[in-house]
Amino acid sequence: MSLDPLPLCLLFSSALFGLGLIGALARSNTILVLLGIELMLNAANLNFIAFWRYGPATSPATGVMFVMFSIAVAAAEAAVGLALIIAVYRHQKTIRLQEANRLKG
């Protein structure tokens, strides 16, 4: 079975997305949920690079630009998410998602 590189890249990225989804849904530790979301973001970046490399020709650096900005937004998201986790931990003394169910501070 011989596949072209582009479908292989896309399958790789879908598998990574599925893994991140499983991690984000199955775990009850907030840090692991955030890491699952990071994996899904990374899978989207893989798609950008795969289509930039093998897709129809565009202007030279379009896919690279997209991934650069995407990585920057993902970094900001990770910083804010982990700060939220620390803030929740200070109020509730736990980072299990099931136990962080009060709206009152």
Partner: protein
Amino acid sequence: MTAALVLIAVFTLATAAVALSLRNLIHSALLLIASWFGIAAFYLWAGAEFVAFAQVLVYVGAVSMVVLFAVLLTRRSRADTVIGPDSVARAISAVITGVAVFGVLGVAILKTSFGRLSPADVPPLPGGTGVSSVISAPTATVRDIGIQLMSTHAAALLIIGILLTVALLGAVVLAAQEGPESKHESP
């Protein structure tokens, strides 16, 4: 060429899968760093060197440190990095959901013929065939990226700078310890 891709994919997926199934948070974080390295290797394989180095700098260097700090700041005792078991029913339904999403995406990918899409959309080059421009890899040197960042995408670069500043300030405000003097500050 394809063998290297399969190798990178297997390494990345295996480390990510093991990382998301472990009980020890430190081990999970370290394995996820290995997985991010695998993704950087994929970028190198695809010829996007600058993105690969950005991935190593941002994920392997910065996000991993933030994650490790969060793990260490949110434990109650020295041995509290091992978390209790999660609910099995949720894990099973999560695996079903994830496999279903991967199945739908995989079938969609395998049913699509990408080869027909690429050469038809490319206008034939003068003195060459249109196909060759698709086969040959696009190149984006650091010089090209810099020029594009400063000309075409200058506004986006400024906006991303503002976004990063605001997000990191917000993170500091959210995570800052409320000292005893902050209780009676003026509203």
